[in-house]
């Protein structure tokens, strides 16, 4: 199994290496319009190094990172708690389902104008947007996870003497974990996409803001560095939750 995974990873790297090679060679052979239009990959690496050493990238990255962590954690925890109650208690579900169904289709960035008025241009704004972006998917996946637990498990637990709270803690939540993790995994990447978009539009700091500054200075190398950071963060966040999910559930699934 381990060998298989390693093999798959190796073959997955081949197209990336070929792509980077073609990129480097085509720019150096002047097949593309020029360094100004697309710098070679080696220049991008050099620029990444310079941005890290000068601290510019680190400062902007940390700003975005903190916003994602705070927004994502608060949004997910809130989604999880409300989701548990809605999945567990049918009356709570009936009461809140209509309002959440109306709010869920609004894209997270759609809230930006109204949140700018309410919170102004500050740290609360991206955090609030990420909160919204994380809340709904975790909420719905938690509800689905709890509701899709086989009724026989609940009946079996009842006949074994388990109270409703015990059933929730010992049966419903553990069995809903795979669904909850699906929500967390999908939204971990989405939180990064949303924070970059919010920073590009309304916030003067963070990777998104750096991206916009680079665009105004026509620094394609910095733009590509920022996009690479975004791509790496989305990927690693999703992988982190996949790892957690496997760690917690793969032994019984």
């Amino acid at each position: 199994m381990t060998n298989k995974v390693k093999k798959v990873n190796f073959w997955g790297l081949v197209p990336i290496i070929i792509f980077l090679g073609i990129w480097e060679i085509s720019v150096r052979l002047h097949i593309t319009p020029g360094h100004f239009f697309l710098p070679p990959f080696s220049s991008i690496l050099q620029e990444s190094y310079d941005l890290i050493v000068s601290g510019v990238l680190v400062v902007h990255y940390l700003k975005s990172f903190l916003r994602v962590i705070i927004g994502f954690l608060t949004g997910s925890i809130a989604g999880l708690i409300v989701g548990i109650f809605m999945g567990w208690k049918e009356t709570v579900n009936r009461a809140f389902h209509p309002i959440f169904s109306l709010l869920y289709p609004i894209p997270a960035l759609g809230w930006l104008p109204i949140l700018m008025i309410w919170f102004g241009i500050g740290e609360l704004l991206p955090i609030a947007i990420i909160f919204i972006c994380s809340f709904f998917p975790v909420l719905y996946n938690t509800i689905t996870g709890i509701k899709s637990v086989n009724q026989d498990y609940i009946k079996a637990a009842q006949t074994l003497g388990a109270s409703k709270k015990t059933i929730l803690a010992s049966i419903l939540l553990p069995l809903a974990l795979p669904n909850i993790f699906t929500g967390l995994r999908l939204e971990a990447g989405m939180a990064w996409r949303v924070v970059i978009a919010a920073e590009m539009v309304a916030i003067p700091t963070g990777i998104g803001a750096l991206l916009m500054k680079a665009q105004s200075l026509i620094r394609i190398d910095i733009i590509i560095v920022c996009l690479m950071v975004l791509s790496l963060m989305c990927y690693s966040f999703e992988k982190f939750f996949l790892f957690l999910e496997r760690k917690l559930t793969s032994h019984w699934r």
Partner: protein
Amino acid sequence: MPVIELRNISNYILNSLNLKIMDKELLVLLGPTGSGKTTILNTIAGLAPYTGNVLFDNRPVDTIATVHRGLGYLFQSLALFPHLNVIANIAYSLKINHLLPDQIMTRAQELLSLMRIEHLEHRYPKDLSGGEKQRVALARALASSPHTLLLDEPMASLDARFSKYFRMEFRRLQKKLGFTTVYVTHDLTEAEEMGDRIAVLNHGKIQQVGSYDDIFFHPANKHVSEFIGEPNIFHCTYAKYLGDGLVEVGVGSMPIVIPHESGNVKKIAIHPGHINIYREKPPEPSINLRTGVIVDIEHTPFAEMLTITSNGVPIRVELHRELYEDMQLSVGTEVFLVFKLKWIRVFDNTNFQLDEESL
């Protein structure tokens, strides 16, 4: 004294149902799909709504929730918790009842050993075979020493060989531990093997309660006789005591050996489901092995009903559909028949009186 009594129970399936389950007995609920067997178990467990009264030891428990009814329930799906390993599944009821860790471990180990599944302790349900799951589910249901165990078609997921083994094992346990059992099945053989008494259900009503022989020879009504199926009744031309509790009787020109203590046998009966048939001669030596030819095949809702003539005697044989298809039988096929000794019943004026009109 009945340990459980259902008085005038009605709900979406059951219809003014009355039933008494006696202390330490194994009562089989037998009936076709949709007759209300599982609903009776759910009513006893408090998992189904009902009007009427359920009494445990003469005390009504209608307002007592499932969690406090103190029953063991083996679901048809077994419902082993997939996220808990075998020992955690078995110890579940002990843990939630706040027993000390030492007590939990001792009791869980006791059950593992009782069910002979010590080697499965740390496995998860996904890694268990059907039979292993069955034993774990039974151990879990018995963990808190319930006064009554409810079993809903527990053999449904097992192959025939293991199912027979499990039935024997369960009977051994039930006698040893002395718990009352309500056992749901639609299989007559299973009912006969397991039940102290059998309750036949149809359309949400108890049609008859009694021993296998009561039901076999005296079906209370058409519902029962149709479900049980009419037995083959053979008039004996002669009866000869062979010694050792065996008698040879003549059925037409066909000799059949039966277990009986005297040569006074006028008629014998055997249920169509209790005659084994084979395409090839069975390798093991067998008393009452005869050959015959299929002369008719009737498709019934429950199984295939074959009429086979052997030595000029027509014999009806019931066959499970899957087996029938596997054997590729048709009219004219020559087959081997085995009448198993234990299933042959004797009429001799002192034992059973067959009410032939009711059949």
